[in-house]
């Protein structure tokens, strides 16, 4: 792996005595495009990450399958001067990599990684695919049909259906819901290549929200690379408005699936957006709550109640502003009601008492992870891009160890009381073959009925 190039300890030593260690700065390209440069001179690799804002998911008139098909089509369907199928081989020869993906509905993110010596050709190919993708009709049909088939299969899975039901409960008929679930009839069948053309032309502009360049490139070369990468793209033609009104009112819902062979249980509640801070505390708390076999939920549901192979906790984003905490697992059907009670009690105790044991030992895995980050240009740039989208100062991704050191028992307890939901504030959603397994729950037959559950 050529994306890993030097020892962090060596880097620190160099940084202490010279000016050629990693630095972060806000720069402007010769063409007037602002970007963050993570200058990491020991790396021969360079990675460029770009976040284009989008509100496609929020608008009622758009086809919500467009971004998921469009991002694949741009990469697979060829571009001006680059027939489909050839460019993949050329990229492999260059040891270059490029991906485009939709990040929590608010941004389309492109990542281009290459060896410094292969920059010119890599950027020329990437520019052609951003500026003039062929969007080949045969490839469009192929990707649309394949994605539709895979989504249909996933939607039939009980756990997936449970999260679909949760989104109906939270977003009701808002357009954002179908962007998250892609389950409204006709979403894929009615998608046209014209939709992709419109989405492409309004999304890929030369005025992205954030650009991060990381690796062994100075500002002069980085600025020229950005200008060339975005050459020929239009300026933004419209302002982006990302507004949603989720409803996290606590409810208890059971999706009855008579044919299901297992029962799944999920608790969902809101967490503050990462731009408001507290993310490091969240990582420590959620690992302690449901991250491994020593976690509170594992202990309560598997070790004590003996009702599940594993029951865990995690965080997810519907959008950047709407983040959730979820507690979830597959459970024995006959013990579903007991699991609901046990999970709620265990969570309430945890919120009241906080994680047990020494804090330094809980920090250790994160400390190791943060210390290794500068070994990987792609991961460093991803971290920096997310921080920049949250409005933090340039170079935050180099300061994560400092943030970790500032976490104390007190800040954890503050976070639990101020940001984590009360145990009674969760939406509880079970998917089960037994309609009576969760007494008192609103029983539904299809996910969409969750929108009407009181």
């Amino acid at each position: 792996m050529t994306r890993i190039l030097f020892l962090f300890a060596m880097l620190l030593a160099l940084a202490a005595c010279k000016d050629d260690g990693p630095t972060a700065s806000v720069e402007t390209s010769p063409g007037g495009i602002a970007y963050t440069l993570l200058h990491m001179p020991e790396h021969e690799d360079v990675t460029i990450h770009i976040a284009w804002p989008t509100d496609w998911a929020y608008r009622p008139e758009t086809n919500k399958a467009t971004p998921v098909v469009g991002t694949q089509l741009i990469l697979a369907g060829g571009a001006d001067g680059y027939p489909a199928g050839d460019v993949g081989e050329r990229f492999a020869d260059l040891n270059s990599e490029g991906i485009i993906y939709v990040a929590v509905n608010d941004h389309v993110i492109g990542e281009l990684t290459f060896e410094r010596d292969q920059m010119d050709e890599t950027i020329a190919i990437a520019n052609a695919h951003l500026r003039a993708p062929t969007l080949d009709p045969m490839w469009f049909d192929r990707i649309r049909e394949g994605t539709a088939a895979n989504m249909a299969e996933a939607q039939a899975q009980p756990a997936h259906a449970g999260f679909d039901a949760a989104r109906w409960a939270v977003f009701g008929k808002e357009p954002l819901r179908n962007a998250l679930s892609l389950d409204e009839p006709g979403t894929f069948d009615e998608l046209t290549r014209e939709d992709v053309l419109v989405w492409h032309s309004e999304t890929f502009t030369r005025t992205p929200q954030v650009i991060v360049v990381a690796g062994g490139l100075d500002a002069a070369d980085a600025g020229a690379a950005i200008d060339e990468l975005l050459r020929g793209l239009p300026d933004a033609s419209r302002s982006v408005t990302q507004e949603a009104a989720p409803d996290y009112t606590a409810r208890r819902i059971l999706l009855h699936r008579p044919e299901a062979q297992t029962t799944t249980l999920s608790f969902i509640a809101t967490l503050p957006a990462t731009r408001l801070g507290g993310e490091t505390e969240d990582l420590i708390l959620i690992h302690a709550l449901g991250g491994d076999d020593q976690s509170v939920l594992f202990e309560a549901v598997r070790t004590e109640l003996r009702a599940s192979y594993g029951f865990g906790a995690g965080m997810a984003n519907y959008t950047r502003d709407h983040r959730i905490l979820f507690l979830s697992g597959e459970v024995e059907t006959a013990k579903l009601a007991d699991v609901e009670r046990v999970v709620r009690d265990a969570y309430a105790d945890f919120r009241q008492s906080g994680p047990s044991g020494e804090l330094e030992r809980r920090k250790a895995p994160l400390a190791e992870n943060f210390a290794e980050l500068p070994d990987f240009v792609v991961d460093q740039a991803r971290s920096e891009l997310q921080s920049a989208l949250d409005g933090f100062d340039a170079g935050r991704s180099f300061r994560l160890t400092d943030e970790l050191q500032s976490v104390t028992e007190s800040t954890l307890m503050d976070r639990l009381s101020s940001a984590f939901p009360d145990a009674q504030d969760f939406i509880v959603i079970a998917v089960s073959p037994d309609a009576d397994a969760l007494p008192g729950a609103c029983v539904i037959r299809v996910p969409s009925e969750a929108a009407d559950c009181p």
């Binding site: 199928g85 192929r142 297992t262 030992r361 250790a364 190791e368």
Partner: protein, 397 residues
């Protein structure tokens, strides 16, 4: 038998693997759950992470923590040798947890179900044909006393291989083992079970799944005329796989995906079972209007044509130039250390002797176009073959 692998970092990991022995892997899986609970499963410091696993050849346990805690880590991990002494009710309940694990891995998972069935046929007559996942009936029949007996027979020092990974010297490891009173014994023959390929024949498994995206899984095991050292064979099969994956002459992508609309997507993998046998797996989703049977025929025809035509020298050279990513950058100590951790753990978990770094660095010299052709011809020439059709029944023919 202990091995130490130097690796920079703030934690140390102790990993122990035992050879399975001639017992049901389903029972051994249950035994693994119980032995882990008996030794490691209690309350631990927050930085002491642990887990256990059972494969078709071995069972393993690992525990990590701070380097200065190595003696304590070994003291805890040593508990997997001790007789299982759990309350019978608790041990019986663990059978239900194994059942939940079965549901977690197998239910609503047609690919996993197909893999289990395919391996029963492909590996017939060999130890690896039996799966630790098992069936519902096998799990319900698990018995605590049987597990204790299996544990006593298999979890013995002569069957064990210990690997310690971290910023620890051999001397520190020896001292920690002494402090922990680690049980040592003359090592028994800890090597993978022998593999003898059953008769060359083919079968098709039809798995109707009305809601599933149609897909074909095609697997074949072939015997080689001459044995090839395992590590070289692993690299050579990976290189052949990379060639077949391309859109270059000699690859599968042009005839199946780019020049025609037969396979919407595909994935090909090739790997050694041992020094004498290799396996290929081809998984593909058909394009619209292409049945799984037609996809199967197109793949078999293409594989045969590629084998008959040979891999062009230009394609071989081009893909070989990209292949240095198979190994780490040997000049980069940190990258090499990370790679060696994965490599050694894989080898120990599969009861194989890891090569030294010095020997690994020379391995690329053994790669050749001749060997590539020989393997390809063998794979295309027939062997024990199993094909699974998954999806709506109307997509099959």
């Amino acid at each position: 038998m202990a091995l130490v692998l130097k690796h920079p970092g703030e934690s140390v990991l102790a990993h122990i693997a035992f050879k399975n022995g001639p017992v049901s892997p389903v029972l051994l899986h249950y035994t693994e759950h119980l032995a882990w609970l008996n030794a490691v499963g209690g309350e631990r410091a927050a930085d002491r992470h642990s887990n256990a696993w059972t494969s078709d050849t071995a069972v393993g346990y690992w525990l990590s923590g701070a380097p200065e805690d190595l003696p304590e880590l070994l003291e805890t991990l040593k508990g997997v040798f001790a007789p299982i002494d759990l309350p019978p009710d608790f041990a019986e309940q663990e059978r239900d947890i194994v059942l939940r694990e079965y549901e977690y891995r197998m239910t609503n998972n047609p690919d996993a179900q197909a893999a289990e069935a395919m391996e029963v046929f492909l590996y017939e007559g060999n130890a690896i044909a039996a799966s630790p996942v098992g069936t519902l009936e096998e799990i319900m029949a698990l018995d605590y006393d049987d597990a204790r007996a299996v544990h006593a027979a298999t979890h013995v020092p002569e069957n064990a291989r210990l690997v310690v990974i971290g910023d620890v010297s051999k001397r520190q490891l020896r001292r920690a083992m002494r402090e922990a009173d680690w049980p040592e014994a003359e090592p028994a023959d800890v090597s993978p079970p022998p593999f003898d390929l059953a008769a060359s024949e083919a079968t098709i498994l039809r798995n109707p799944e009305p809601g599933a995206a149609p897909r074909l899984i095609w697997r074949r095991v072939v015997s080689l005329p001459e044995p090839v050292p395992f590590d070289l064979l692993e690299a050579q099969t990976a290189l052949l796989r990379d060639i077949l994956d391309t859109n270059l002459p000699g690859g599968l992508a042009a005839p199946l995906r780019f020049d025609t609309a037969i396979a919407r997507t595909f994935d090909v993998q090739i790997w050694p079972i041992d020094e004498d046998n290799i396996e290929i797996s081809f998984t593909a989703a058909p394009d619209t209007g292409v049945s799984l049977k037609e996809l199967q025929t197109a793949f078999e025809t293409t594989l045969s044509e590629v084998a008959n035509g040979g891999i062009p020298e230009a394609t071989y050279s081009r893909v070989l130039n990209r292949f240095d990513g198979f190994w780490p950058d040997w000049d980069d100590e940190d990258e090499t250390a990370r790679w060696m951790v994965d490599y050694v753990l894989d080898r120990v978990s599969n009861l194989r002797e890891p090569l030294s770094e010095r020997k690994l660095k020379r391995l690329h010299r053994g790669l050749s176009l001749d060997l590539t052709h020989a393997l390809l011809r063998q794979l295309a020439g027939g062997g024990r073959t199993v094909i699974a059709f998954i999806g709506p029944e109307e997509s099959f023919e």
